[in-house]
């Protein structure tokens, strides 16, 4: 098959967190009618922290409205869809919550959907094997919070480990699309830009152009004016290295500013970004307004590097119980930091000496909201008139966690401090259920690079027909 000279990629965000306003379906239909060659969508991310990955929950549940216009539209138009799924994560449990929606859609419509499904999880045995054979896995960011090199203990401790697959496993699955075996590709955790790069690379377009295009449209219409994640955006790329970007709906515009600005979003260096197998260098990129609502982009470079994907892993800290309290008593507010430090120290000693939990197996942290939990810059001379105390306790069991939170609460409420007049209680408690059971709290323990000779090695695909048989 002769490859076409240009490709149009229609991009939106299919994450259940973003929801699906009526406008989304309208935008996707308009984009497909405008000649899209592929519909690609990102639907997972780690920006909300480690909890959901550890718990296997998706956050806001996905609905058919996140997918119907794209999946049925692509099928009818005879173009593929490529989507990453899972919401606040991308593990197998989170992916499964999304795949159930595909079952539901296919069943309701009485029309099957065939997809190549690629897990984003990386097995512990696989990683141990790599470590045993001497593969060194450096931390991705040089923060002392991470071990410099991934250790076997960290792999053992982790609850879930996933990796951001690059475009290559998706490209491998797209061969099955060319052979008529599937309608599209669904992945667990994946590189956002890899989702959008896969189809153009599969058709042999240059990697620098595909990479920069993908970077611009990775969050759908976030590169439009006004930036928003609720609609869809189209990008056209040529073999000569030109990229054009415009919104699927006429009510939005792409401007040089909106497009170039997205290049700096959520990355620490605005000029270059590390990707599996290469660094995208946009320092020489040029942006030009073509007409009222579209922008032409060119000039990015791709500097090849040894291939590696990012591993993301979380471990459990224990069971968490949280308490929220408030005070505006001027004497307590004035000395709140010392009071809280004293209570935490006293409670910690009590928990250990009374045998409720061994030292080092539990932790009590109190955030004094209103007195600088967020950075404020130059210290304000004025103290706040009111502060909130957010107590977070983690312990090995739910019972120990609740007991320790209870002992911290009663001490905060009833203890003495210099100048105290509030002998009937020091604090206000705004929640009826004073002890908020948070379940198991997870923290990141793996954010390392896994070098791969074959980018598809840990990411085989399975062809699945939806609805899957019910048992």
């Amino acid at each position: 098959m002769k490859p076409p000279e240009t490709i149009r990629v229609l991009s939106y965000v299919c994450d259940g967190r973003v929801g699906a306003r009526p406008e989304l379906a309208e935008a996707i239909r308009a984009g497909i009618a405008d000649g899209a060659d592929v519909v690609s969508a990102q639907g997972n991310g780690m920006d909300a922290g480690p909890y959901y990955l550890g718990a296997g929950e998706t956050g806001a549940p996905p609905t058919p409205a996140n997918f119907e216009a794209a999946v049925w539209g692509a099928k009818t138009a005879g173009i593929p869809f490529v989507m990453s799924l899972g919401g606040r994560g991308g593990s197998d449990k989170q992916l499964e919550a999304y795949l159930k929606v595909f079952d539901e859609m296919a069943r309701d419509k009485g029309r099957p959907i065939r997809a190549a499904v690629i897990s984003g999880e990386v097995g512990k045995e696989f990683l141990r094997g790599k470590l045993d054979s001497g593969v060194a896995m450096p931390r991705l960011s040089p923060t002392p919070r991470l071990s410099e090199w991934l250790t076997r203990a960290e792999v053992d401790e982790a609850e879930v480990i996933q990796a951001q697959m690059g475009p290559e496993p998706i490209m491998a699955a797209l061969k099955a699309y060319d052979e008529g075996e599937i309608d599209g590709v669904l992945t667990g955790r994946a590189l956002d830009s890899g989702i959008h790069m896969a189809y153009p690379l599969h058709r042999g377009f240059p990697v620098a152009t595909a990479g920069h295009m993908a970077k611009i449209i990775e969050c759908g219409s976030m590169c439009c004016d006004p930036p928003n994640p609720f609609s869809a955006v189209m990008a056209e790329i040529s073999r000569s290295g030109d990229i054009s970007v415009w919104p699927a709906l006429t009510k939005y515009r792409c401007t040089v500013k909106s497009v170039a600005s997205h290049a700096v979003y959520e990355r620490e260096n605005p000029h270059e970004e590390r990707n599996p197998g290469g660094v995208l260098d946009v320092s020489e990129a040029e942006y030009a307004q073509v007409d009222d609502r579209s922008v032409r982009v060119s000039g990015a470079a791709w500097l090849p590097t040894p291939y590696a994907v990012k591993l993301e892993g979380v471990r459990s800290l224990g069971h968490e119980t949280a308490v929220l309290a408030v005070t505006n008593d001027p004497t307590l507010v004035a000395g709140v930091d010392a009071y809280v430090a004293h209570i935490v120290s006293e409670a910690t000693d009590y928990v250990v000496t009374s045998g409720i939990a061994a030292a080092g197996t539990f932790k009590i942290v109190v955030h004094v909201i209103g007195a600088g939990v967020l950075p404020t810059g130059p210290a304000d001379a004025r103290r706040p008139s009111e502060v909130g105390l957010l107590v977070r306790v983690v312990a090995p069991t739910p019972e120990a966690s609740l007991y320790i939170a209870s002992t911290v609460r009663v001490r905060l409420q009833m203890s003495d401090y210099p100048g105290r007049t509030t002998t009937a209680g020091n604090l206000a408690f705004p929640l009826q259920k004073v002890f908020m059971e948070q379940g198991e709290t997870h923290v990141f323990n793996i954010w390392h690079l896994l070098p791969l000779v074959d980018p598809t090695e840990p990411f085989p695909f399975n062809v699945i027909e939806f609805p899957r048989p019910t048992r």
Binding site: M46, D47, A48, G49, P50, Y51, L140, S141, T143, P144, R145, L146, V256, K257, A260, S261, V264, Y265, E266, R267, E268, N269, P270, H271, Y287, L317, K363, V365, H367, I369, V373, L374, P375, T376, G377, P378, L390, R392, V394, T441, H442, V443, F444, W447
Partner: protein
């Protein structure tokens, strides 16, 4: 008193990853952007001081001429210790409220 907030049209922060916060300042006018760039007001040293973090925790201050933007990136810390999004010591999982020290930076009323 004029501050950085007064000459900016966007002043925001977000995680670049769970260990890195990045702040974006989009300056409203080309003149003010040019002034800010040559003023030396925003350097790794001034950022470390403003956020009361170790100098080594500042990753960089980047000027992006084409869009009149400045990017300030640093590792997440709390009480001088390096932390990650979601740690017990962290209160800003997405890093969306780390920009405030920047908006309070005073700028002279005459900036030519």
């Amino acid at each position: 008193m004029t501050t950085l907030l007064d000459i900016s049209e966007v002043l925001r922060s977000k995680n670049a990853d769970p260990f890195i916060t990045t702040c974006d300042i989009f300056v409203r006018s080309a003149e003010d952007y040019a002034w800010l760039k040559r003023s030396g007001l925003l350097t790794a040293e001034t950022v470390a001081e403003l956020y009361r973090m170790p100098f080594e925790a500042v990753i960089g201050v980047f000027f992006v001429d084409g869009i009149q933007a400045v990017k300030v990136s640093f590792f997440k810390t709390a009480g001088g210790r390096y932390i990650a999004s979601g740690d017990l010591e962290d209160v800003d999982a997405t890093g969306s409220q780390q920009h405030v020290p920047l908006l309070r930076i005073e700028v002279p009323s005459k900036r030519s």
